[in-house]
Structures are given as structure tokens and as C-alpha cells.
């Protein structure tokens, strides 16, 4: 039996024992190349962001050279194409805020309700069938949703069934339909968050004599909060950024929206119309497009950064 070779602590390098297997690896050039490709693919997302900023910023700056930023942000009259021009973006912002708000008013309760039902009450078979059907709602082209708002929700549902006096175009109809469009986003992501809550927590609650509703409201929902917040925020982003529904159904009249039965032009709706309109490219009117685009970008960015913080705060490791 050989005695142990010993190494004085702190000795520099130890030569390997005679006959010891080599531990140096073979070179793996493919590995290196592929890893660089992967890294480049990930970095591309940053390039995209930079691209967005550049493509918005140039014309937007040209615009802000002529219209002071403050006037743009605080003005309440939006009339870039009228003879008496005015570039206060608040009418567009209020319209966007209202459509978003109404959409959330519909999507958050219904989306969460559907999610809770699917995650906590439905049998697995039912969930497997219903969830994808619900997700289908998210896949319906927004153009189709837009005409649905115009030809069904406003005249039949709102005016006909509910007796609400809305015009052909209204923030209300557009917001409602947008809400329905967002339901699956919120429902599906919240449902994922809730199913990720360990079964053990539900069992623990049931074993204490809590009923299903109590378990859901007091254990599952708080535990899934970060996922639900993330879902709602994605819903908000969708609502702010949705274009076709509002372009078709909310109207094109830029006015300070104080009442959802009014019509109003949202930021995205304005961009879509302006981009397809007959204004001369490069003109001041045309460049408003980019100023509004930039504002939209900054707004969604802000909503998201806040959301990321919130999600971090509520994140729960089990």
C-alpha cells in the first residue's frame, strides 16, 4: 500500500503523478464560434431598441425644433393639419388613457375571473379545452375586432341593448372591444402564474378548513401576484399600443376626452392615419407622427420599467 503523497500547503504547482491522465481539453473552435453567434443574437435586441430610438428621434427632433416640448406635452388642442395649427398632444393622450382604462376595466376582472376559474375550479379536461379557445380570442386580427366594435358593439350592444347614447365612433366602444381583445392575454398569463403556485399550498390551506374561495383569494392569488402583475402590465401595454381597433372605432377627432361616450383620436390611431394620409412627408405635420411615436415609446417604456420593479417586489420563491 502506497503512502499518501503529500503537498506542503501553499506549494506552487504540483507536477502530476507519473502516468496521471491529462486533464487538458481539446480545443473546441465550433463551441466558441457558436457561442459568439448566440451572444450576437441576444445583443440584436439592443440593436433593435437603438434602431427604434434612432428612427423616431431624428424626425422628432426636427419637430421639436419648431414646437417647444412643453407646448407639445401640455397643450390641449391638437390640430396639426388645420389652418390654425396647434400641437398640444394631450387630446391624444387623454383618448389613449381612456381607451386603456376602459379596456382594463373589462379585461382585468374578466381576465382574472376566467383565469381563476380555469386554474382553480375547472377540471383538467375542461381547462385543456377552454384555455386554448380563449387564447384564440387573442389571435383574432385586430382589424376584425375593429369592425366588430363599429358594426356590433356600438350600434347593437351599446345603443340598442344598453341604451347608451354613443355615436358611430366612441372611446367606449373601442375601449370595450379592446378589453375583450386583452382578456385572453391577462387570463392566460395569470392562469400560468396561478398554476405555478405549488399544489402543496392549496392542500395546506384546505387542510386547515378553508374553502376553495378562501384558498384562492388568500393563498393562491397573493402567491401568484407577481405573475398577475406582469400579465396586467402586458395588457396595459397592449391597450396603449393597439392601433387598428382605435383607428377604426374610436374616431379621429382629437379632443380632450372627458366622457367615454365621446369620440377621440388616440396616439396610435393618429400615427396610423397620418402615415397613410396625404400630407407631405418631411413637413411639420408629418413629423408630428414621430413626436407622437416617441411619446408612445417612452410611455410604454415607463409602464414597463415600473412593472418590472413591481414584479420583482412581489416575486415569490417557493
Amino acid at each position: 500500500m502506497t503512502t499518501l503523497r503529500t503537498t506542503p500547503a501553499g506549494a506552487a504547482t504540483t507536477p502530476p503523478l507519473p502516468g496521471a491522465p491529462s486533464l487538458t481539453g481539446r480545443p473546441r473552435p465550433l463551441e466558441t464560434v457558436v457561442r459568439w453567434i448566440l451572444r450576437a443574437a441576444a445583443a440584436l435586441s439592443v440593436v433593435i431598441t437603438i434602431g427604434i430610438v434612432i428612427s423616431l428621434l431624428g424626425p422628432a427632433l426636427a419637430f421639436f425644433r419648431e414646437v417647444p416640448v412643453l407646448d407639445f406635452l401640455t397643450g390641449t388642442r391638437w390640430a396639426p393639419q388645420f389652418a390654425d395649427k396647434s400641437f398640444g398632444v394631450l387630446p391624444l393622450v387623454t383618448a389613449t388613457a381612456w381607451t386603456t382604462f376602459i379596456a382594463l376595466l373589462v379585461a382585468v376582472p374578466f381576465g382574472l375571473g376566467a383565469a381563476i376559474y380555469l386554474a382553480e375550479y375547472a377540471r383538467p379536461g375542461v381547462r385543456r379545452t377552454l384555455k386554448p379557445i380563449l387564447e384564440l380570442l387573442a389571435g383574432v386580427p385586430t382589424v376584425v375586432f375593429g369592425f366588430f366594435a363599429l358594426s356590433f358593439v356600438a350600434p347593437v350592444l351599446l345603443r340598442g341593448l344598453l341604451g347608451i347614447q354613443v355615436g358611430t365612433f366612441s372611446i367606449l366602444a373601442a375601449g370595450l372591444v379592446m378589453g375583450f381583445m386583452i382578456i385572453p392575454t391577462i387570463a392566460s398569463l395569470s392562469e400560468d402564474a396561478m398554476t405555478a403556485v405549488p399544489q402543496a399550498l392549496r392542500q395546506g390551506s384546505a387542510a386547515l378548513g378553508a374553502n376553495r374561495m378562501q384558498t384562492t383569494l388568500r393563498v393562491v392569488l397573493p402567491a401568484a401576484l407577481s405573475g398577475i402583475v406582469a400579465a396586467v402590465v402586458l395588457g396595459i401595454s397592449r391597450a396603449i399600443g393597439e392601433t387598428m381597433i382605435v383607428a377604426i372605432a374610436a374616431g379621429a377627432r382629437p379632443q380632450m376626452v372627458t366622457d367615454p361616450t365621446m369620440e377621440g383620436a388616440t396616439m396610435t390611431g393618429f400615427i396610423a392615419r397620418m402615415a397613410l394620409g396625404d400630407s407631405r412627408i418631411g413637413s411639420l405635420q408629418y413629423n408630428t407622427l414621430f413626436a407622437v411615436g416617441l411619446l408612445l415609446f417612452v410611455l410604454t417604456l415607463a409602464v414597463n420599467l415600473v412593472a418590472i420593479q413591481l414584479v420583482r417586489r412581489f416575486r415569490q420563491e417557493y
Binding site: R202, S205, L208, P222
Partner: protein, 298 residues
């Protein structure tokens, strides 16, 4: 003999490789407490079968659980110990496709009888799980959860929480951080918190499914001590893989095994033997029990 002596009685016997231990863990001390006589059954299975879908997981189990006693359920994996345990407080209701036939009597009343509220059953017959599963809430809220949801009439929740944590031998360790998340506790502390949570709703019976299998030996020891203390107020049923544990703390032990159907290959759990723990470990009536106890099983 006091409980501490009992738990400190060496559990580790000679266990050389591939040789059966010469002696099974001793449990002689327990005869002073309970007798061969049938216990007053707080809870009793009568001819219970449990099915999952079409598959019969356990068959024909009749088993009484004595008042203020600890009953251990042992047996190889898959023999249906957890299944039986869950049928004792209708937790199986929550498992898709599970069906319980037969009767489970609680103070003589069938918990599967008509008009019985499973939620009420679960409040009376609490449960502690294999992996500690505190809620993602503060320590205080974990304990207060049960009293709140069951609408218990409490004078002072603070007092109740303190008292409960004391009974669960956790108060001293957590009294300064009641408002902190329960997830900051160690595994053993979390499990004691789960026990505290369970006793906060003042159940009669506590069911425990391998409550120590995720814990280290020291934490295990503390839980065992706690169980022995709690025995004075509660009827305890514990499933364990650890035979030494059963020998150390159980008054009575039920040994289950799985019968294999020759044709279908289905394994169905059956109760082989139920007796005083000392009897099961020292002088089992059934050869299958003996084989299992001595590690000769298979």
C-alpha cells in the same frame, strides 16, 4: 420514563451490510402507556377501499385510531399509506378521480355520510405534509390563517398565535420575527410552523405524512419530541418511511404492503398487521411484517 428519554434512546442499531439487524428497534417502554386493548377510536376506517380512476390503490382497510395516541403507518413505497391518510380527512376529495368506499367514522359519525361538510371535517382533522409548506406570508399570518378562514371566535389573535407557537415549541425561535416571511425559517422550523398552523384551529386529530423526510436528523428529533408532547392533547396519525421513527414515537403501528395482481400487474395496498408498536417490531404475527422490519423484505 419521560418523553425525552424515549427519543434519545438510540435508534441506530447494528446494521452491517446485507445482514439483517440482529435486533429490531426496541419499543418496550410504550406498554406502560397503552394496552393491547382496542383504543377508544376517535377516528376509524371501516372496510375502506380507495380507487384512482379505475385502479384500486388500497383495499379493505379497517383500522381504529385511538384517542390521544400516536399511530404510525409504515410499509414500502406505493402501498397506499398516503392514500389512506388522505382519506381520513377527505383530502382525497381534491384529487381528481379519487373515490373512497367504505366508512371513515369520526366519533362514530361517517365523514363521508350525507350532509357532512368536508371543510368542517378538515378543520377537525388537520394535516401536516411531507415537505414543509408554509404560506408565502409572515409567520404570524401563517398561524392566524386557520382561525381567520374558519371564522374562529378569538379574543386576541396575538395571544392565540403566541400560545400556539409555544405549544409547537417554536415561540422562542421566532418571537422576534413574527412579521417576517415564513420562508426565512429553516426547514425544520418551517415544519414546526406548519404543525403550529394546524393546531391553531384546535383540531382533534393531526395527520402527518412523512413530516420529517425532508429534514435533517436534528430537526427530525425536535419534531419527534414535539409529537410526543402533542400526544397529550391530540390524536396523531403519522406515515413514515423511517422505521426507527415509528419505533421511537408510535403507540401503535399499522403495517401495509402492496399485493400484486398476477395478471394485470396492478399493485393494491392492503393492511397486513396492526398492533402495539412493540409487538410489531419485536414479535410480528405476519411473516411479511417481519421481513420488512428486518430489511429482508422483497
Amino acid at each position: 420514563m419521560n418523553p425525552t428519554d424515549r427519543t434519545l434512546e438510540p435508534s441506530v442499531k447494528e446494521a452491517p451490510a446485507h445482514a439483517a439487524p440482529t435486533t429490531a428497534p426496541s419499543a418496550r417502554w410504550r406498554e406502560e402507556r397503552v394496552t393491547k386493548d382496542a383504543p377508544t377510536p376517535v377516528l376509524e376506517c371501516v372496510d375502506v377501499d380507495v380507487r384512482y380512476g379505475g385502479f384500486v390503490a388500497v383495499r379493505d382497510v379497517s383500522l381504529p385510531f385511538g384517542h390521544n395516541e400516536i399511530t404510525a403507518l409504515i410499509g414500502p413505497s406505493g402501498c397506499g399509506k398516503s392514500t389512506i391518510l388522505r382519506s381520513l380527512n377527505r383530502m382525497n376529495d381534491l384529487v381528481d378521480g379519487a373515490r373512497v368506499d367504505g366508512k371513515v367514522q369520526y366519533w362514530g359519525q361517517d365523514i363521508y355520510g350525507p350532509g357532512v361538510d368536508p371543510i368542517e371535517v378538515r378543520r377537525r382533522i388537520g394535516m401536516v405534509f411531507q415537505k414543509p409548506n408554509p404560506f408565502p406570508k409572515s409567520i404570524y399570518d401563517n398561524v392566524a390563517y386557520g382561525p381567520r378562514v374558519t371564522g374562529m371566535d378569538v379574543d386576541s389573535m396575538d395571544d392565540l398565535v403566541e400560545q400556539t407557537l409555544r405549544r409547537a415549541a417554536l415561540w422562542d425561535e421566532v418571537k422576534d420575527k413574527l412579521k417576517q416571511s415564513a420562508y426565512g425559517l429553516s426547514g425544520g422550523q418551517q415544519q414546526r410552523l406548519c404543525i403550529a398552523r394546524t393546531i391553531a384551529v384546535e383540531p382533534d386529530v393531526i395527520l402527518m405524512d412523512e413530516p420529517c423526510s425532508a429534514l435533517d436528523p436534528i430537526a427530525t428529533l425536535r419534531i419527534e419530541e414535539l409529537m410526543v408532547e402533542l400526544r397529550d392533547r391530540y390524536t396523531i396519525v403519522i406515515v413514515t418511511h423511517n422505521m426507527q421513527q415509528a419505533a421511537r414515537i408510535a403507540d401503535r403501528t399499522a403495517f401495509f404492503t402492496a399485493d400484486v395482481d398476477e395478471t394485470s400487474g396492478d399493485r393494491t395496498g392492503v393492511l397486513v398487521e396492526f398492533d402495539l408498536t412493540s409487538k410489531i417490531f419485536e414479535n410480528p404475527s405476519d411473516s411479511r411484517t417481519e421481513d420488512y422490519i428486518t430489511g429482508r423484505f422483497g
